[in-house]
């Protein structure tokens, strides 16, 4: 405990060579190796970071819970995290800020999503309204999939409290479904295509049903870093904004670059549904999640997200 405290109070920093725009600033960026992270690799490849005098190193992260401490100890300067853990962390008082958006859930609820609620073969479930009392697997509890699931269930007239939500990793979902260990699961690509190939029925697309048009993954940084290096923060936002626009316009470039940082096969990449890249974000986007988290009891008390967004002019 004592050591921890010492490290905390005397936090050294690896990133801040200097705040002046003329010198190159080295930053580490935490990303999960999924399609959404293509923007940072594109920005690197297209030289957007170099233009802003940023030397960016992408680092693999597994989950927000592990990435956010890394922001606090300056091991990472930015991380690509979905809105749900971001607001959860912020609501608990962690000094982090959202600097930019990376993507949104597709505004068109009828679009084809890369993730879907799939039922087990024998459950006979065809629509979300039949899921009362079911056991449903998601990849992580109290995360975006569970939020989407609960909202979608509410929309279909099912009390979310009546279902049991359990956590299972994506690769094991298909076998959990085929062996009837769970009634349904929210499966994402590339495993969604496996599930379809196995003949498992797709029930709905909960993300688009409940969250269409809402903010997807966002770029977050620690407040302390942003205070110390506002210029670097702005430079990063400018570069990533350009990259997001490029990604939105060039899906093939996204599919190509995914090959450099994921293990997804070319065929699967070609078939993958890409995120809806969009760099716009405002306080309301965040407040939507803050409110939803309260109603779904992910967090205990109301949270005002208005101060969470770090904007260029501040």
């Amino acid at each position: 405990v004592a050591i921890g405290a010492a490290v905390l109070t005397g936090c050294g920093s690896s990133a801040d060579a200097s705040g002046s725009p003329a010198e190159t600033v080295a930053v580490s960026v935490g990303v999960t190796p999924i399609a959404n992270a293509a923007t940072v690799y594109l920005a690197e490849e297209l030289g957007y970071f170099a233009d802003e005098n940023l030397d960016v190193t992408p680092t693999i992260i597994q989950a927000a819970a592990a990435a956010i401490p890394s922001l606090q100890n300056d091991e990472l300067q930015f991380a690509l995290v979905s809105a749900v853990p971001t607001i959860t962390a912020a609501s608990k008082g962690l000094p982090i800020r959202v600097v930019a958006s990376n993507d949104r859930y597709n505004p068109d609820p009828e679009a084809v999503d890369g993730a879907a609620l799939v039922a087990s073969a024998t459950s006979g479930v065809t629509s979300p309204s039949e899921l009362a009392g079911a056991t449903i697997a998601v990849v992580g509890l109290k995360s975006a999939p569970e939020l989407a699931l609960r909202l979608a269930l509410r929309g279909a007239g099912v009390d979310p409290e009546s279902v049991e939500v359990v956590e299972i990793p994506y690769p094991d979902m298909v076998s959990a479904l085929t062996s009837d260990r769970v009634d349904a699961a929210i499966v994402a690509d590339p495993f969604l295509s496996q599930a379809k190939a196995a003949g498992l029925p797709v029930v709905s697309q909960p993300f688009l049903d409940a969250l269409h048009g809402e903010a997807g993954t966002t770029w977050v940084a620690s407040e302390r870093f942003l205070q110390a290096h506002p210029d670097a923060g702005q430079a990063f936002v400018r570069a990533i904004t350009k990259a997001v626009a490029y990604a939105a316009a060039n899906p093939d470039a996204v599919r190509d670059i995914m090959g450099s940082y994921t293990e997804i096969s070319p065929e699967a990449r070609a078939a993958a549904v890409l995120p809806y890249f969009d760099s716009t974000i405002d306080g309301e986007d965040l407040q939507f999640f803050a409110d939803a988290l309260v109603t779904e009891e992910f967090i205990d008390s109301a949270y005002d997200a208005s101060g969470l967004l770090w904007t260029l002019d501040r």
């Binding site: 905390l8 693999i60 592990a66 094991d172 062996s179 690509d189 293990e263």
Partner: protein
């Protein structure tokens, strides 16, 4: 050789005899491994193992990562993290174990804290460790040490206490220096216990290194498992998993060989049984 079935081997002819003796020793092993792999192939082939691929698919993937060289860097990182954490955990466990085994006072002073800390799950410390050391090798090492030190510590405490009283008297009456008592009496008497502790610690270190690399994730085989998992490259993921098992078997074999040499005097390893 077990105590019950102690049967001395006839002196036997020399070189040819050695070969004849070595072959029957490895043959059952190979046969059993083959049987296990065959069972896996049949089971997975029939689709009974869910997402688990067949050994053939896994072997192909394994050959793939070896052929394109992508296996070496994660393997190297994992092995060095393992080695460092194992050395630290063993050293700490041995030293503290000796003190606690030899001194009732020290034991009484610390038993509360030890029993308390021992049950704190290493994986629960991930966020703290990440906060303190980042997603680097240090973090995996800290977690592995935290998890593995107990095995050595406990075994050492018990081992130190298990010294034969007559042997202890013999040492006391020969006025051996403390150093000699430790090196020549306590250490060898405790050695069988410690050996078990080290073997356990080696396993726990590897498992925690891998688990930490998965959970944090930090570079190494564990991170490759995450990457391949997220990318849906399941045979490749199992190739890495099998690789970690193989590393474990190799580590264990090394320990057994070492033990045969170091503990040759122990009834479990004596060549000629009385």
């Amino acid at each position: 050789m077990s105590a019950v079935q102690a049967e001395e081997r006839p002196p036997g002819a020399l070189a040819a005899g050695a070969l004849r003796l070595a072959l029957p020793r490895t043959l059952p092993k190979l046969a059993f491994v083959a049987a296990a792999v065959a069972a896996w192939q049949l089971w997975a082939g029939a689709g009974n193992l869910g997402a688990v691929p067949t050994p053939v698919e896994v072997t192909v993937a394994l050959v793939g990562i070896v052929a394109d060289g992508s296996v070496w860097s994660p393997l190297g990182v994992t092995l060095s993290a393992w080695a460092i954490s194992f050395v630290i955990a063993s050293a700490m466990g041995l030293v503290v174990g000796f003190v606690l085994g030899a001194s009732r006072l020290a034991y009484r002073l610390s038993v509360f804290v030890l029993d308390f800390c021992r049950t704190i799950p290493a994986l629960g410390l991930v966020p703290l460790v990440v906060l303190m050391f980042g997603a680097r090798m240090q973090s995996t090492i800290v977690l592995a040490v935290f998890g593995a030190v107990w095995a050595v510590l406990l075994q050492t405490i018990y081992g130190v206490r298990d010294v034969d009283p007559v042997a202890r008297d013999a040492f006391r009456s020969s006025l051996a220096r403390r150093r000699d008592v430790v090196i020549r009496l306590v250490l060898p008497s405790a050695a069988p216990y410690i050996a078990t502790g080290l073997r356990l610690a080696a396993a726990v270190c590897l498992l925690l290194t891998l688990s930490a690399q998965i959970v944090i994730p930090s570079p190494g085989i564990g991170q490759q498992i995450v990457l391949t998992q997220l990318g849906g490259a399941i045979p490749k993921m199992y190739a890495y998993i099998v690789l970690s098992g193989v590393v474990g078997v190799a580590i264990n074999a090394a320990f057994v060989a070492l033990e045969r040499i170091v503990l040759h005097w122990h009834p479990a390893h004596r060549k000629a049984i009385r």
